[in-house]
């Protein structure tokens, strides 16, 4: 379960950073919002990169399919990236209502996505990848930088 554990923890860490940014925006503290949001955005994008460059290719090679779950996940990553851009725009304009509204969409989208990964994809990865490959994939993922 090493893949599940590591990646699930990353989801939780991103949730915490996101919530901190949301609270700062609700308080009208835009400096803190930007700081926390940047942490969230960078960690989320690095997490996506780890998946798209290391985990998904390993899973696809093992299962021989590039059109299944990983394609769905890649598409959802694009949706999240789009929202990250819009949230950054709302911070730029210090538009509290827009920021909090986008936060709502982002959280539902992200939690739905995370659940699919945690309950299905990571569990499948832990099941189908041989132990050695899991260890090496995890090491490669940890080395990914933005």
């Amino acid at each position: 379960m090493i893949i599940s554990q590591f990646m699930t923890q990353e989801h939780r860490d991103c949730d915490t950073e996101f919530a901190a940014a949301e609270q700062a925006a609700a308080n009208g503290n835009w400096e803190e919002t930007e700081e926390k949001f940047m942490l969230f955005a960078n960690d989320t994008l690095r997490h996506f990169k780890r998946e798209e460059e290391e985990l998904f290719p390993a899973f696809e090679a093992q299962t021989g399919s590039a059109e299944g779950p990983t394609q769905v996940m890649r598409y959802e990553h694009e949706q999240v990236k789009g929202l990250i851009g819009k949230l950054a725009g709302a911070i730029e304009e210090q538009d509290k209502d827009a920021y909090l509204s986008l936060c709502e969409s982002m959280m539902i989208l992200l939690q739905q996505h995370n659940m699919k990964e945690e309950q299905m994809l990571y569990a499948m990865c832990d099941r189908v990848l041989p132990q050695e490959l899991k260890v090496s994939t995890l090491e490669k993922m940890k080395a990914v930088k933005l």
Binding site: M107, I108, K116
Partner: protein, 427 residues
């Protein structure tokens, strides 16, 4: 869940399928408000025709419509069940269902036996049709989550509720002798309120509480076993009640403890939210869960005393529980779906969730809802308050109806006039 190439959008049904059930549920809510004005405090007498009519307007017309909306939306998203041709299925379900509910209510009012026969055909046919499809797909799932397991049990309970109801309508129409009428009536009521309504809400909450509010997951002993325990309790009650009618007293005590425990655990989870902001939907959940606990306390009290007021309070708070959770879901689902579908269709101008329904609008509904409950409770002691309760019920569901119509118009307006990102150019 991942078998489709068409991604998230293909997993979700068309927005109209979900909206139309919310819409018909809200319209039945308006009818319920009018009935409260017409029937006044007669609705509090459990043996009256008025109570029977209002109960079925709320449980069948309002709650079942909302629950169909939730099932059509949630089955693909949280259980991974993709229903082919959802629009056709919604048509085959909704039209006979609405007609069936109206005819059944008329049957209760007039006691005309042929009305019960027609209502049985329409309601039995439409509800069995959809539960059979949903259950068949759920059973086939290779990987079950706590929610999908719970939904399966809840749908099984719904099937039992309808079978029991058909026995009763069969009796009322003169086709059956109705030897076991009172036993079946008690089981119908318990399976309907606890096995279907409470259990479906519980099953969905296992996933949406975590998803919407970013809380820790439910403990496995709750999410994994609670639906089965509840169902077994009810099934045990049904079987034994043919021999010992009083068994329901014992079952009610167990149910009250189990459901209060669930409500307590969920309230605790809501205090552990990572997102500290409290919007109207969090308050709707808190109100609903607290009402469930209150309802269960009053049920426990009624097992030891015959005071009618406690029984009436247990009904009022159970209805508050169910409706509050529906409103909580509604104010998340409708804005999210409007944004999500338009965004996924590539519209730059897709309205944000707050533009579909602003949090302040949801908050106003919370106050209306609270006032409605307070006036219903007051009317138990000061009868004229029932008029205010009826008017507030109409306002509450009128508010909801307006939000659905507004969201739908915004959706259509964006589709007609919005600028669209050309998906084809992505290659």
């Amino acid at each position: 869940m991942f078998s489709q190439n068409g991604l998230s959008l293909d997993q979700a049904p068309p927005i109209s399928v979900v909206f139309r059930f919310f819409f018909s549920g809200a319209l039945f809510g308006l009818i319920a408000g009018v009935l409260v004005l017409l029937f006044q405090t007669n609705i509090f007498n459990p043996n009256s025709t008025e109570a029977l009519i209002l109960t079925h307007t709320l449980t069948l017309g309002v709650m079942l419509s909302f629950m169909f909306a939730a099932l059509f939306q949630m089955l693909p998203v949280i259980a991974g069940v993709i229903l082919p041709s959802p629009v056709q299925k919604a048509n085959l379900l909704q039209y006979p269902f609405i007609l069936g509910v109206l005819i059944l209510l008329l049957g209760f009012y007039t006691s005309e036996s042929w009305l019960f026969i027609i209502a049985s055909i329409l309601l039995g046919g439409s509800i069995f049709y959809i539960t059979a499809i949903m259950l068949k797909d759920l059973i086939k799932l290779p990987n079950h989550s706590a929610s999908s397991k719970g939904m399966m049990v809840a749908l099984t309970s719904l099937t039992i509720v309808i079978i029991l109801a058909l026995y009763m309508t069969g009796t009322l129409s003169g086709l059956l002798q109705g030897t076991y009428y009172s036993v079946i009536k008690e089981a119908h009521y318990s399976f309907g309120l606890f096995g279907w309504i409470a259990l479906l809400i519980i099953s969905i909450s296992f996933q949406v509480i975590e998803m919407f509010y970013v809380t820790p997951a439910y403990p496995k002993f709750i999410s994994g076993y609670l639906p089965y325990k509840l169902f077994c309790l009810l099934a045990f009650g049904l079987l034994i009640s043919f021999y010992i009618a009083k068994v329901w007293v014992l079952i009610d005590i167990f149910l009250a403890l189990v459901l209060s425990g669930y409500a307590g655990i969920t309230l605790k989870r809501l205090t552990q939210r990572k997102r500290p902001l409290t919007d109207a939907t969090v308050w709707f959940w808190r109100l609903g869960l607290s009402s469930l606990i209150l309802s269960m306390i009053f049920i426990l009290i009624t097992t030891f005393t015959d005071i009618e007021t406690f029984k009436q309070l247990s009904y009022i708070f159970f209805a508050t529980f169910a409706l509050s959770i529906v409103f909580a879901m509604f104010y998340k689902i409708v804005p999210f779906l409007t944004w999500f579908h338009l965004n996924a269709q590539g519209y730059f101008t897709a309205p944000m969730m707050h533009e579909v329904i602003h949090p302040k609008t949801a908050m106003k509904h919370l106050y209306i809802h609270l006032a409605t409950i307070v006036t219903f409770v007051l009317s138990l002691f000061i009868a004229p308050f029932i008029y205010l309760a009826g008017l507030l019920t109409i306002l509450s569901f009128g508010w909801m109806t307006y939000q659905i119509v507004h969201a739908w118009k915004l959706y259509q307006h964006t589709q007609e006039t919005g600028e669209k990102f050309d998906m084809g150019s992505m290659g």
